[in-house]
Symmetry: D2
Subunit: 357 residues, 4 copies
């Protein structure tokens, strides 16, 4: 196996730090270049970054000199992972793509682009098929942008995909999230705002969930020129809670067709496998959805369950009939792994297997 060199854009930020911890012992990817703002470039990473991970900063990374986010400085990289803020991601990611460097982006900027796949790696990796169209339009050989979803979207869309596969189209979904502070970056949420408190608002978050679910659960056009969104109507209510990592969602689902039983749903979730499993990707969770049954009525919980399969699995519990919709349940995702950096990494692994990188 050839180890590929990779770059990280926005390497000093919260998502960038998570890219580093996840890539540190990755057998296929090796961190070659760290990109950040002009303010950080030229410094040693350990001097530029305010490290907030509970895993220590890898020694090799600590001594690396941070570069500006200029594609010329990343020419040895087969891939760049972007943890850039939306303010900068639009321009920079475009430049990297134009320089024929594949970009796996966590930023929101291109998620709604008609030829940019929006991929949760345990859900819709067949959307990579549109990459060719993107390259064709831009006259590029290797460069492309593929985005992963918003962090809270990821926790919802994995079980929904398993249900849609097993029981057909989903008509309506309500989601109420309780989101971790790490989702807001650093310094992010002031402690005065969240200690002994709930903040029932996260700007732009509800709109992201409501739209992204429909693109991710949707299909590619027959000619692979773009995507058909599902007709699912999603209504989201988003809250910030005093939790470090792990977004918890209370979800209710109405199917377009006949409602399955609770037992049928459990079975569908437990047995769900994704393409990343079949391709044998290194970071793919053995079981993309962990299910808690009646013996554990108070699970999933972020502190206990967010690390399931190193953060790449979604945990689901409390599956029960609903008096208004068909069923309701609780879902948990590690927001900085499957909901951010981990999604980018597993997406890249899939892209490599598919020959796109």
């Amino acid at each position: 196996m050839v180890v590929k060199k990779v770059g990280i854009l926005g390497a000093t930020g919260t998502v960038g730090q998570r890219f580093i911890t996840l890539l540190d012992e990755h057998p296929e990817f090796e961190i070659a270049v760290l990109g950040a703002s002009a303010r950080s470039s030229g410094k040693k990473y350990e001097d530029a970054a305010r490290w907030k991970q509970s895993k220590a900063m890898p020694e090799k990374v600590a001594k690396m000199i941070v570069s500006e986010c200029d594609p010329k400085l990343f020419s040895e990289c087969s891939i760049v992972f972007s943890g850039l803020d939306a303010e900068f991601a639009g321009e920079i990611e475009k430049n990297f793509r134009a320089a024929n460097i594949p970009v796996l982006s966590n930023a929101k900027n291109y998620r709604r682009d008609p030829v940019v796949p929006l991929i949760v790696p345990t859900v819709n990796t067949e959307h990579f098929d549109v990459v060719k169209k993107q390259q064709e339009q831009l006259g590029l050989q290797r460069g492309f942008i593929v985005t992963n979803s918003n962090c809270s979207t990821a926790g919802v869309v994995v079980p929904l995909k398993a249900m849609q596969d097993a029981f057909g189209p989903i008509e309506k979904v309500t989601v109420t999230t309780m989101q971790a502070i790490s989702g807001a970056g650093y310094p992010g949420v002031s402690s005065l705002d969240i200690l002994d408190n709930v903040v029932p608002f996260i700007g732009g978050e509800e709109e992201k969930i409501e739209w992204e679910v429909r693109k991710i659960l949707g299909s590619t056009n027959e000619d692979l020129s773009g995507f058909k969104l599902t007709d699912t109507v999603v209504s989201a209510q988003c809250n910030r809670v005093p939790v470090l990592d792990g977004h918890t969602s209370c979800v209710a689902v109405k199917f377009a067709g006949k409602a399955p039983s609770v037992e049928e749903i459990k079975k569908a979730l437990v047995n769900y496998r994704c393409e990343a499993n079949k391709l044998g990707c290194f970071s793919a969770p053995k079981q993309p959805i962990h299910v808690f049954d009646e013996k554990n009525p108070d699970r999933p919980q972020p502190r206990l369950d967010r690390e399931a399969e190193r953060g790449y699995a979604v945990s689901v519990g409390r599956i029960r009939p609903d008096s208004i919709f068909d069923i309701k349940f609780v879902s948990l995702v590690h927001n900085t792994v499957l909901g951010a950096a981990g999604a980018g990494i597993l997406n890249a692994e899939v892209a490599v297997k598919k020959g796109l990188i």
Copy 2:
């Protein structure tokens, strides 16, 4: 004004402590007897109770000797407030009623009794009219039991009542709660279960909300022999979060008739007044519902808003159209004031004004 002597059952517990702090400077009620379990009786209150309120224990109360929960020891009391655990409340409250002492109970035991009113004092005090039927059935002159709602029910039912009054019957409601730890009493929730965590399950809580809303929003029978529940279908999902006081709920509502606009709803909530206002009750909030508009998109928040009108008002914000139901909003209630002890006290004030005590 004649000051009435009152007793507190379960005086050492969390709800009992809140009764004490709220009654401490009450102009109409004077704490005369404190009742608790045999383990506490005979002790000074300050030695029997593990005081967990941020307001200091009133000096007078500290030196009072705790009694057993025997009606004979409460003969001087015109009212007893019950903060008893459900395990004991059934028998003890019945005994007090039989002894012709009105019981304002926070326990769940009699909430579903066909002749026991379930009253949130800023919502349905006309349900007191069924007290006569209760007394008639039992051949009592003065004794009765009136319950207040579950803590999380209170936060939802106040805005729903204002909407029902203004726009007619409500067809469907979904509620996702984020509930404070004080709702579980002391020692209650282990810190290991809730620090950096969410627990997406509270035993029996969802069923309480789903049923209690329908009785509280319902009407009395024409002959005042009982209650007609509304046809509203309620689906609740309950979570415990690391908040000390204040239950936050994300609510979505579908009306049976034409949906009002967001502006119409805001106006209805702001202008809502209850019978306790008209009767001039001491503890009645001037404005039972505080409304946050677009200038404060991140409110209500428990830490900032739970003390609105000393905990007797409900705060509502983020009223906006919903893509599945008609509207959605966020509601906040102080769970140990309007959601528990305060409800009992304001209910008692109303009962006095109505001549029932």
Copy 3:
């Protein structure tokens, strides 16, 4: 009683907000002008400030137009209270003094000035005697600057003063603090830094405690030209903990002379009264030090005890012999009341009684 008009400098910040809540129902002071940065001036206060107090913003204040911190705009004020950041306080406070407006400052800038009193109002109000020297030097009739202490200093110096008064000079003191997040202002401490965490460092804090204690416990020169610091050696270790309000300190004390018994110390603390008591100041705590005895071995605690006497009292517990020093104990102060805004207000009340304002 004539009500005096007052101004607040830095009115939109955390300390400024606390000045507003404390002054809202003050019988002697009326908020007339709110000063803040150019960015806020010209706006309504409710639009300029991000209100983070659990008590609602007073309605009158909400509609006031914020001014720049220019003495000309405060000419109607008999006093200004300064909650300015140190970055701006130096210049602005000097300007107000020069304009003959007394300044009660929470900023650190002038605390070490030889003719500026550093006063904790329940400790050393006799230091006001040096104000005349300050005015003389600058040729001012009414203008002066008086500072209050750093927030963590206040919790330590009140019991030390009571002990010094009763048992003579203190030779050595060690202090380990556990400080609330509100001490760092807003946004201040990132939630990612403090949830499930302790930060064992607060820049400059240890030096402040170690020096300020000596000035506050010191005396004025005989000719009232300045201050004599005590010889007390203080060693401080400061930590930030996940607490909203209330700084807790573990203290050990070695007296220069014979060590008193634990009982003698308790008695000295309980009986301690300050000049603000004797002068009958409105905000003066009836008992400046609340003492917990062996029946409450786990007190004081910030959540339960910070509001003692509206935050103007210090709470002390666990007084016990020490194997290295003479005694050790735990002390708690409300950091934004006696440790900040409240100190300024009570200092102003004393200054009025003394005829300085």
Copy 4:
């Protein structure tokens, strides 16, 4: 290498659970029997334990049937690890020793026994030499009891040992701890007691630190018949803070001889190695003490540093001169690893290397 079968006493408790997670992938020890109270025995472990670890319960362990703590049921075990409560540990551990099963205990019961070593595995493993005396006295071939220290003691004694080795006897030490809630077991600390709070008292904790440090830093008698305590005077002040894992301590030290410089101390801590290193024990930290220098003035922090070397290393920072003692610093230990279960495991590894097991 022969894998040894081990038992766990108190397997369902918090310390027992930590033994299980640490032993799960241990190359030399295999969990053979799980012991707990009569209430749990006979059940599957997954049904008996309320699992509170963020690492999932090992599948093999989940299905094991819990036994009573009867030595007969542990006859296949070469070692038992005890996480028993003090209430039960005295009798049960004695029985296991009498049955010639070596007991590595986390309980406090035998720590002060004159022939029972009290060992922190990165500090004083030469104390194992007294085991022979213990066996001799009781006429045992293989049975013995060795205890590890109290959780908060461990964080202090490791750096003190390195300093004592390098700079000679320590005269005085003050310690102020900020301890995690996991140290109190489950349910342990009520969330109502610790959210937004500090509890400045932990029953018995200060006495443990003050005495245990002296035994651990002490030496064995020349004839290996027992231990000589050091003359170090220790004064401890203990606090509970809202942290899940990791005890932080602020420490000040006065040496009996000449005070070393800060640089000398840093060097001594960085270079410190223990017998477990030399013996090549599996769980031994490569560097028993991690040191933060001036570039990281706000470290160690429990959330970021508790997992250093899988919880077996102590982290030290803020080493600086003290105005009363010689130096002061901050120390952090993972309270359930090196402060509890991990200490037992590494102690056992050392005992195996020494031929005692």
